[in-house]
Symmetry: none
Subunit: 414 residues, 2 copies
């Protein structure tokens, strides 16, 4: 089963936005064992769209089209696909109702031109998931081939892919073997360093056909090691994954902080909850980013109680009782912040950060200098890092580095 991806949108061809959808879809296809040999981006031009779709269907059995489903005159995917199917567009009353609902829920009246989004090719099947006002479609092309049409809005596209498109493709392709994968997330070692530590193991697996390892450097998400297993059923492939994870933990376990959808934040919050500890943060250069990432996780309020962001240096003294006559970018200051925020907010555990995100040096410290501390029941530990990065990266690496330090301390208390 071969599947191609076409992203529709002049804004992509003009470089105004980067098409991240195609990479995301490709990854899902690869996981499902479906070949994808070509991705194309085409503008909102019916003639070129038509040629592109037709050429793709000449090479592959399935085509996923993203974009061109909006309510404006530019949005032509429905029309062009109908023409390829050799049918007319017809208004779908169920989709009309859904669109009206979306507007009603937001307390807005629906502009009439939004009804264009309910005109679908005769014979096309609407995809049940419909988080926005654009309906996804399954469009049979003759007896053998199929076009899936989904919106370009990533959140809507992803729901439709996971809920309907990928399962439908897998069932059409008659794939019998199961491919499973597991991602081990690591922090604190380079990609090439991990590759060296795992060189023997990669050699051992090479050519066995059942298990493969792949690395992916993911910036502030660390370096991911993906184990992929192929077997006749899910139970067997899961057993392969379990065994291989054990081998890898022997070799690089000290760097692994999370599995699959876990994040540094979710792991830290899980440890805090299991140890019945409340948690607060004192932030300076990160401006609230540690709290933002923690509270992005539903249920974070079980442990996380709040934060004091002392962006102006003087607030460190007035709000967190940091002594006034010391450097605010230093060990004494960061430890006082960690202890101070526990006291002021009434928390068991805290982390604190203070440093220089740039663009200019500050208090005599160079850009990238960050002091970090964690406090657990009044016991404080701290360290300094100098990041050779830009402002945005310094802030992001600070968040994950200080949370990783706390994670290690909490792990060792278990």
């Amino acid at each position: 089963m071969r599947c191609e991806i076409v992203a529709v949108g002049t804004e992509i061809l003009l470089g105004q936005i980067v098409d991240t959808n195609s990479a995301w879809i490709s990854e899902r296809l690869a996981e499902a064992g479906i070949d994808c040999h070509l991705q194309t981006v085409v503008g909102d031009n019916p003639e070129r769209m038509s040629k592109t779709f037709e050429a793709a269907l000449g090479r592959a059995e399935a085509l996923i089209i993203t974009g061109g489903l909006g309510p404006t005159q530019d949005d032509l995917t429905r029309e062009v696909v109908a023409e390829l199917m050799g049918v007319e567009l017809e208004r779908d009353e169920q989709i009309v109702e859904k669109i009206r609902d979306r507007f009603a829920n937001r307390g807005r009246t629906m502009p009439e031109n939004n009804l264009k989004q309910a005109d679908i090719p005769v014979g096309a099947l609407p995809i049940p998931e419909m988080p926005g006002t654009a309906a996804g479609l399954i469009c049979p092309i003759g007896e053998e081939k199929v076009i899936y049409v989904v919106p370009g809005v990533p959140i809507e596209m992803k729901q439709m892919l996971e809920g309907t498109v990928i399962p439908d493709l897998v069932s059409r392709s008659g794939i019998k073997s199961v491919i499973s994968s597991r991602v081990l997330k690591t922090w604190g070692h380079s990609e090439s360093g991990l590759a060296e530590d795992l060189a023997e193991e990669i050699k051992r697996l090479d050519g066995d056909g059942e298990l493969t390892l792949a690395f992916q450097a993911s910036g502030i998400e660390g370096v991911k090691v993906r184990i992929t297993a192929k077997a006749s059923d899910k139970e067997k492939s899961d057993l392969l994954l379990d065994a291989e994870e054990e081998v890898l933990r022997e070799l690089i376990g000290e760097y692994i902080f999370a599995i699959d959808n876990e994040t540094m934040e979710s792991v830290v919050l899980g440890l805090l909850k299991s140890q019945s500890l409340t948690f607060a943060t004192a932030e300076s250069l990160t401006g609230g980013m540690i709290g933002t990432r923690l509270t992005d996780i539903p249920g974070s309020s079980d442990s996380y109680i709040g934060s004091v962001v002392t962006y102006e240096a003087g607030l460190k003294s007035s709000l967190l009782n940091v002594p006034k006559d010391i450097s605010y970018v230093g060990q004494e200051a960061v430890e006082a912040m960690a202890l101070g925020v526990c006291e002021v907010l009434g928390a068991d555990v805290s982390v604190a950060v203070t440093g220089v995100a740039g663009p200019s040096p500050h208090e005599g410290e160079e850009v990238g200098t960050v002091w970090m501390a964690s406090s657990i029941k009044g016991e404080v530990e701290s360290f300094k890092v100098v990041f050779p990065f830009d402002r945005s990266q310094i802030r992001q690496f600070t968040v994950i580095t200080v949370l990783n330090a706390l994670r290690k301390r909490l792990e060792s208390r278990k």
Copy 2:
């Protein structure tokens, strides 16, 4: 002059990396006035590469290929392009020297297989810029057409594009006209609503050839309206943009909050600075996200001093003097937070938010209910919104909505 872009790399087709090169190149082409009608991604497979390149050259006069220039067996772009040109590969001694230099500079010995990178099609012209070990190439195809081959490493690709490829394309195309564009960022109106408000204007411009309008819904960045102008020189195209912006401000000015690279945060910080006001935030459901976005902007410390994040409801009373016997998700609470944070942190201006991000209702309020307030020199204003979104979107829309409310108040003080 039409130019297509092909990115070569199985890792892109597997979704392991996102192809950001094509968007970057497209933007440069659009700026230079060169049409780009199609982008393609193809894997490291010589047959499919060849078909893809040939098809592109069938539609366009120029082709830019990124990737497949490394030293490994997978890297086949040189071979495939030589075949299309109908010539052999030949070792280029000047490139050999450059590659040896690169290794010597890093104090490493050159692996022999790196010399493969010096084998270029007979008749191809090396691109002078060569920051890495891969040489870019200008490859004439017959009398009329041309292929540019550049590495996939973004920093190397960009140097070659800016230094050689774009100037060469412009000179070949004989282009005299200049294309400029300006983005007006709007908040508070739907894409279809804006399209309705601007329908007459779009009709007026249609076919004039000098000016076009396009919409782009960008989630929490609002809806962008892009004006594109074409003229004989930059001065004239800028005048066209100025005139059209004025027309659009008459029609939809109330929704426009920023231009081009400005953001809601940068506009608010600019207004605060020009009015010499200090700024603090009191956050609850956003967990620090307002502060994070503000402090992402270099120079935010000119106005922004800090934040109190009261994620646990009780902290609203103990830290911000919110009365204890009221609902923490309500008008009285949010106004007390806004006033309290100004008092405690010593700020002139503040915003405060309290609400229910979900997943469950809280204090009897449904998920998505958010109270927002802004305070300027002790004068507080507040309002309630019920967002029909998920947790992450509720938090993000809260940030931009409350900042937009403050922006309007600051604008009206000017």
